[in-house]
Amino acid sequence: MATLAPPDAEAAPAASHSDAWRRLRRDGASLAGAACLAALVLIAIFAPLVAPQDPIRVAMRERLQTPSRVHWLGTDQFGRDILSRIVYGTRVSLTVGLIAVGIGLGLGATLGLVAGFSRRLDYPIIAIMDVLLSFPQILLAIAIVAALGPGIFNTMIAVGIGSVPGFTRITRSSTLSIRERDYVEAARALGATGARIIRLHVLPNAAAPLIVVATLSMAGAILSAAILSFLGLGARPPMAEWGAMAADGRGLIAQYPHVATFPSLAIFVVVLAFNLLGDGLRDALDPQLED
């Protein structure tokens, strides 16, 4: 059912945004997540300054050392400093997450808008999304990597494509719900172009759920990419990628569990931070979901 928009319909989102911001600032867990992410971004940017050593320098004489004052997190089987590799790995993981989610968001939102506005293209787009959804996400990524060949770049594409259906669905349903509103009708009657309606009415409305899903998708994308690298389908040696580092430690788990554990904990921290922030954003932007 179409609802009448209040006279200040365009001012309404701004007011609710400040409400959301207030709710978010009161949520300790999501603030902790945000602070943690800010720190990780700084670490990624200033990796050469933060890392104590060269992440790919091989020193066979120092191989497989447990944590010590020289190597805070120990060394791997090539004598590479694990802490330095984790620091540089922050760059890889954040970039992979950003690009993969960027691909998913860009493609997904576009397809969702088209599906929502065009009755003719709605069914084919939804049918394609249903096919993509009929693959478990990691299997879809594996299938795409199988076609494109292993590698970190193809991993980003694969994980990104895997996240397209989620973004498409949200954008489509926001578009469908807004398309029939009276003020959109009115804007159209006044001669507003499709692009203007999308920019002024549809996107601001879809923004909140898209932000939440994008944040939570960052967690999923980083985890999926790490899994692909762990399986040997992602980053190639000697790149300092956390999943690949954990895979290096797989055969050493009996005597040197630290080799697999520290990179896994790095993945855990960044994924948890995105999950905390995403949960907080969802509660803040959609108060109905709050307990």
Binding site: V145, A146, A147, A260
Partner: protein, 313 residues
């Protein structure tokens, strides 16, 4: 109801067709000539030509897809490039092993996850609620391979309770069961947090309903209110998610099988990708996707049976 089932069944036809098309295209999206990619860089021209004819790559693409689809419908998924065995044989054996692992993981994760969610919701804001939900959030963020490696390190290496890896035979034999425990523990463990969180939020929503207030108002014990009135209704979304979580299980199985050298579909797929054995890659992915579509179908039917309020016409 019958109409709904028939319609839902018909709707899976385009999905399965699309899935098979996507799987078919895997080979054709390969950059460059698939035949020379499969043969390797040093292969002589006649070997490449041989592979091209054998895979039918010299035919028009629509003919190729039609051939692929009709043989797949007859259970013929081609031959492995490496072992020369029928893909259907290799995939069938691996599928059963994966099924065994997934079912074991599913059963124990349900036995743990649902009671945690119910208790957390019934004692909302208690220490148990807070502790279990924090643990669940932490658990959701752990990479599955680390859970597997830690389980292996603790229970196989340090304590020696279970074998490190491999499959010991059918799950009803002692050796089979012993080998199954760690992979199933890993795979199921990843599902517990999401299941507990969902059960809790779903039950909390049910506890807010009018009929629950009525049940409480008439003086029913809280235990009965939860067990008899709220839980039944809270289980509907949980059933849906149990179905959807099979996606996670199938995906997680890839990692679990790789860690524990479990001879299932996931490990077969990963090995085949790394050795560029495309018929096997296609076979494993097709079977996983079709399995997932089937499970979704069954979940929808179960949902229709469980929820008499919704009329499917």
């Amino acid at each position: 109801m019958r109409v709904y089932i028939v319609r839902r069944l018909l709707l899976t036809v385009p999905t399965i067709l699309g899935t098979s098309l996507l799987v078919f295209l895997i080979l054709h999206l390969v950059p460059g000539d698939p035949a020379s990619v499969i043969a390797g860089p040093a292969a002589p021209a006649d070997v490449v030509a041989n592979i091209r004819t054998q895979l039918g790559l010299d035919q028009p693409i629509l003919v190729q897809y039609w051939r692929y689809l009709s043989s797949a419908l007859h259970g013929d998924l081609g031959r492995s490039i490496l072992s020369r065995r029928q893909v259907s044989d290799e995939v069938a054996g691996a599928f059963l092993n994966t099924l065994e692992l997934v079912i074991a993981a599913r059963v124990w994760s349900l036995l743990i996850g649902i009671p945690i969610g119910v208790l957390a919701a019934a004692r909302r804001r208690s220490i148990f609620d807070k502790l279990s939900m924090v643990t669940a959030l932490l658990g959701l963020s752990l990479p599955i391979f680390w859970i597997g490696l830690m389980a292996m390190w603790l229970f196989a290496v340090k304590l020696g309770w279970f074998p490190i890896s491999g499959r010991g035979g059918p799950m009803w034999t002692a050796a089979g069961l012993q080998h199954l425990v760690l992979p199933a523990l890993t795979l199921g463990g990843v599902q517990v947090p999401a299941l507990a969180r969902l059960t809790r939020s779903s039950l909390l929503e049910a506890l807010n309903q009018d009929y629950v207030r009525t049940a409480r108002a008439k003086g029913l014990a809280e235990r009965l209110v939860v067990a008899k009135h709220a839980l039944k209704n809270a289980m509907l979304p949980v059933v849906t998610v149990i179905g959807l979580q099979f996606a996670g299980l199938l995906g997680g199985a890839v990692v679990t099988e790789t860690i524990f050298s479990w001879p299932g579909l996931g490990r077969l797929a990963v090995t085949a990708i790394l050795t560029r054995d495309f018929p096997i890659v296609q076979g494993t992915i097709l079977v996983s996707a079709v399995t997932f579509v089937t499970i979704n179908l069954l979940t929808d039917f179960l949902y229709a049976v469980l929820d008499p309020r919704i009329k499917y016409t």
